[in-house]
Symmetry: C2
Subunit: 466 residues, 2 copies
């Protein structure tokens, strides 16, 4: 038996209410997305008069379709929503995505309307995503109900559950046009009157196409259930969370955004950490960590071996590691011996290692190969980081060098960051490295933060095993 | 009389030692940079045999040039450097940039060689930048001595003093190819055996083409002098500092990178703040703040008025403001009245304001114009921030709308950030907004950090006036 949430991502048939035959409304955007992503299920439009919208057959109501429909998308004003739910129930449509806003995000009257809507849904045994949801994305099935025009993304193992439409909007477009990582599912929970983080976490736990679970939440209503579930899920799948509304004012804004309850943030954060949830900073931090965990193996521990062509890179890495509690173990005599041939006589091997001196003696390529290669063989260095600055004078085939090192030590995550580059160089290096699944960052701090997330996940897995 | 440092940025003549007629050495890169940036002074190469290198006349020694030379660049092994300094002295060249590494960045022997070099320079009354300097940049005169191939940058009012070559390397290339802000001067101090932050701060204080001073330092040798000077400079020019080596390990790395002393970081940070120096996080933070201060007027206070098309944007802004101690004052009844016509009946005006509901009623453009316009008129909101997410459905001419608001309130900084965008959309919006000097950021947190830097500078100026 499939999970109840599956209807929001892999339905056999969907109906969209709110498209228009004459003007471009948000419902039309949803229809266009379904067509553009190549959704292979049946699609219907619900419209009082039109027989067809954008090539999609249209019916005045769900009841008149005469074929089973798994999920209905209501891109309608809030005033029409209860009627729409009743139509769904009459047509035995079990799941509904409600896009209208103006509910708990809009004061007491809206909250009351939301309660009525949720009651209507519950009484009919249906499940609802929203209200105030921007929709869902499933790259595997091409099922996309977003209200925002999207371009197809790579299929991948990162799934996102969010109390905002951003990940089914601007960030989905950002991923599609600039990122190499793939996405499995995106759920925009909106006001969470029914489907919430607990439902989604339970679904994604068992979803074979999801490897990394990202959550943006402004407050967990069913805190105890979520924590219990997370405690189990995080033993096998990483759960990353960006908690919005962690400040007093942010909490108040969260209340007006999605009607979330604030005020217990510190307690919640502690409990989330206990349950193995990795809490990140900012949306950048969420994607940075997700990418590292998606690309890399689980490291054996939290220690880094770092090679940088710039001395400032080693200083900034050390500062960032200390802030994050990551260790930079000193190289063993054996490693120093192995790396020694790449260094001028006066240079001493340390970690993080500034290879500027080595590049004055040999080539930049040799310096990275010999010294990062030596660090890769160091048992106490569980993760490797290469810090680059891209100038014509430091040009080499980094992807070839790093992949050779990784072939010898496939068990060690290998991360990279750029300290300055021209647009063209950055793009070229980024593509070459991310193509072979070496995660690349534009600052030392973001790279170290991603390594920290890897280390957190590793610790969680170890605790479970030990 | 010109400042002693002027020879490093606006010399009438320069000689470069270390270019080669037969192979491409770093000295050749320096010559090529001078030609590419259109330096209009005289250029000479120093080479034992060649009569000309890359079209530049070459002489076996400085003494044989027979014309006055203001500054010499030594792209030579450390072993030849004392002889080179003696040649400089004999030719009455008062300033020298030493690019060789392997001095205090390389253990006791190197430190001793550095002391000998510094003594040689001092005894001859010369000034030295370095050793271990990657060079200098002055966009106004086209004088560029970097060892890294650079492309010309926009002339602007941001100057950078750094104990790393990154800003005369990868980051100079990043600025030239991706940024709209201009640069005045870059000094790579290297090991600071002679010229240091005090010299440069004193120079930039009086430099009319410098409006914002950025410092990356791993430790200030002449702490008291720097603090006294900064105390005065920051009253009229903002000084931003990224302090590397703030952790214990980072401090040790700094010692091996540039021979800096660590260990007093907490004390130094407190003293720097007292002296009005604005301390930033990471290189991103340095540029983010510099851009905001370069583009924007000095705000009357630290309060923000924020309009966001996404509710999550308001939540994240509130969290970031609380962390940074910035206030988000509630709109006055008068402002609420002015903005009210842009809102659905059920929506209440707050700050930060989520305009998602307003866009369901009217257009996105109207929502920003009416509500941000109303916030601009609010006396207690000293800075304005627009949070965008770029999807086709939210497309409008933001530059036109924001510049109209700014025309009515030119005294208020106006900042923007994007929460998600396709590559193409981001580029287009970034160019349109930065073209009219509205600073744009890729995250809410970075935008708030930049506003915080503006607020810090405003507080400093107020303290001085009051």
């Amino acid at each position: 038996m499939s999970h109840a949430m599956d209807a929001f991502f892999n339905p056999s048939a969907v109906a969209v209410a709110g498209a228009s035959s004459s003007s471009v409304k948000l419902g039309n955007v949803t229809l266009a997305n379904l067509l553009r992503f190549g959704y292979r299920g049946r699609v219907y439009a619900i419209h009082p008069r039109a027989g067809e919208i954008m090539g999609v057959p249209a019916f005045p109501s769900l009841r008149e379709i005469g074929e089973p429909v798994d999920v209905a998308v209501g891109v309608l004003p809030r005033e029409q929503m209860i009627d729409f739910v009743e139509d769904c129930a009459a047509a035995r449509v079990g799941s509904v995505i409600v896009c209208a806003a103006g509910y708990s995000d809009a004061g007491a009257e809206g909250a009351e309307m939301q309660e009525r809507l949720a009651r209507a849904v519950r009484q009919r045994g249906m499940r609802m995503m929203g209200p105030n949801s921007v929709g869902t994305i499933s790259t595997g099935s091409g099922f996309v109900t977003s209200l925002m025009t999207l371009d197809p993304m790579e299929v991948g193992d990162i799934s996102i559950v969010a109390q905002t439409g951003l990940f089914a909007g601007g960030f989905a477009r950002w991923i599609a046009s600039t990122q190499r990582f793939g996405v499995s599912k995106v759920a925009c929970l909106g006001n969470k009157a029914d489907v919430d983080e607990v439902d989604m976490l339970s679904y994604l736990e068992g979803d074979p196409s999801t490897g990394v679970i990202c959550v943006y939440s402004e407050g967990i209503h069913r805190g105890r259930e979520f924590l219990e579930l997370a405690q189990r899920v995080t033993e096998t799948k990483p759960v990353l969370m960006l908690k919005g509304g962690s400040s007093e004012l942010g909490g108040r804004m969260a209340a007006s955004h999605t009607g979330s309850m604030a005020g217990e943030d510190a307690v919640l954060r502690g409990a989330l950490a206990q349950a193995g949830v990795i809490q990140v900073r900012g949306i950048d931090g969420l994607f940075d960590a997700a990418k590292a965990i998606s690309y890399c193996p689980v490291p054996a521990g939290p220690n880094l071996g770092v090679v940088s062509i710039t001395g400032a890179g080693t200083v900034l890495v050390a500062d960032a590691c200390q802030r994050r509690g990551l260790n930079l173990p000193s190289p063993s005599p054996e490693t120093a011996r192995r790396a020694g041939k790449g260094l001028p006589g006066w240079a001493r091997l340390v970690n993080p290692m500034d290879i500027w001196s080595a590049t004055l003696q040999g080539t930049v390529e040799d310096a990275y190969r010999v010294i990062l290669g030596a660090f890769a063989g160091e048992k106490e260095m569980h993760m490797l980081m290469a810090v680059f600055t891209l100038v014509p004078e430091s040009e080499f085939d980094a992807a070839a060098v790093l992949s050779a090192i990784r072939e010898e030590h496939p068990e060690k995550p290998l991360l990279a960051c750029f300290l300055g580059a021209s647009e063209v160089d950055r793009r070229r290096w980024f593509s070459a490295l991310e193509e072979i699944r070496i995660p690349v960052y534009d600052s030392v701090e973001r790279c170290v933060d991603a390594a920290w997330a890897l280390a957190r996940y590793a610790a969680r897995r170890k605790n479970r095993g030990g």
